[in-house]
Amino acid sequence: MAAVDPCDKCEELLQPYLDRELSDAERAEAELHLDGCSYCRRRYRFEEELRRFVRQAAVEEMPPDLKQKLAELRTSLF
């Protein structure tokens, strides 16, 4: 069986790593590789920042008149 490239393996672990879904052993494996591999380390750091950026960029404030309309839908006040 062909050996798996350690950077390919680390790429596969990226999402579950950031989601904290890896087992202790898998997490240790990823961290060991990241310690010695600046290529993967940069990409992990980028992904982490990307997620934060997407979350912030996706925010759009609710129009004030919609908020007013929702308040008017209340039935308990009538």
């Binding site: 999402q15 990409r43 997620r51 950026f53 997407v54 960029a57 996706a58 839908l73």
Partner: protein
């Protein structure tokens, strides 16, 4: 016996119900900013998002007795919203892209690097290379089934279990759609930022 003479117990029960209802409506309205934020990314346009949120609250206020106090009200509201969104003719849209996806998780970084936008290695500032508009456009290009999961987990901060319950799909499906949805998102972001490959 006269119908117009409620007992003290009846009166207390009615008063309690009225209080529960007011509390429910107040708590639901406090979450409206978060509900709108997700609706905006799930629906195609601002108008659709506004309609969706209004319908969600109309339905929630009618069905308030079905909510169990102490459980996750935000998830309960999102479940109504995603159901309404699916009912709104989503079926006519193209089905999820099931072609194999070649791009891995490093794809976006590598594309930015190739394009010469690659950052100083010690200051990987995403916001210097991508704009808010890039993100909004890229998210809207992700097929619905994948986008629903990405929006709930990555923007709404719901757990896999909550997302599974909201969308009424198995948790394994949440995970696989999330994995694929994020990769599609990165492909779209790369196209937005540096053009199609």
């Amino acid at each position: 016996m006269s119908e117009s003479a409620p007992t003290a117990a009846d009166t207390r029960k009615l008063a309690q119900q009225a209080r529960d209802r007011v509390r429910f409506e107040e708590e639901a309205l406090e979450l409206s900013d978060q509900v709108y934020r997700m609706a905006r990314r799930l629906a195609g346009s601002r108008e659709e998002a506004e309609d969706l949120v209004q319908q969600t609250y109309e339905r929630a206020f009618r069905a308030w007795r079905q909510y169990t106090p102490g459980t996750n009200l935000r998830a309960w509201l999102l479940r109504i919203l995603t159901n309404l969104n699916i009912d709104r003719g989503r079926k006519v849209q193209r089905s999820p892209d099931l072609q194999p996806l070649e791009e891995g998780d490093y794809y976006l970084y590598n594309r930015l690097e190739e394009s010469g936008r690659e950052p100083n290695a010690d200051q990987d500032r995403v916001d210097e290379r991508l704009s808010q508009d890039d993100v909004v456009a890229a998210l809207s290009a992700v097929p619905h089934d994948f986008r629903d999961v990405v929006v709930l987990v990555d923007i709404g901060d719901f757990s896999y279990a909550d997302a599974a319950q909201i969308l009424e799909i198995p948790i394994g499906t949440v995970m696989s759609r999330l994995h694929r949805g994020r990769r599609i998102l990165k492909r779209e972001l790369a196209d937005e930022a540096v053009g199609s490959a």
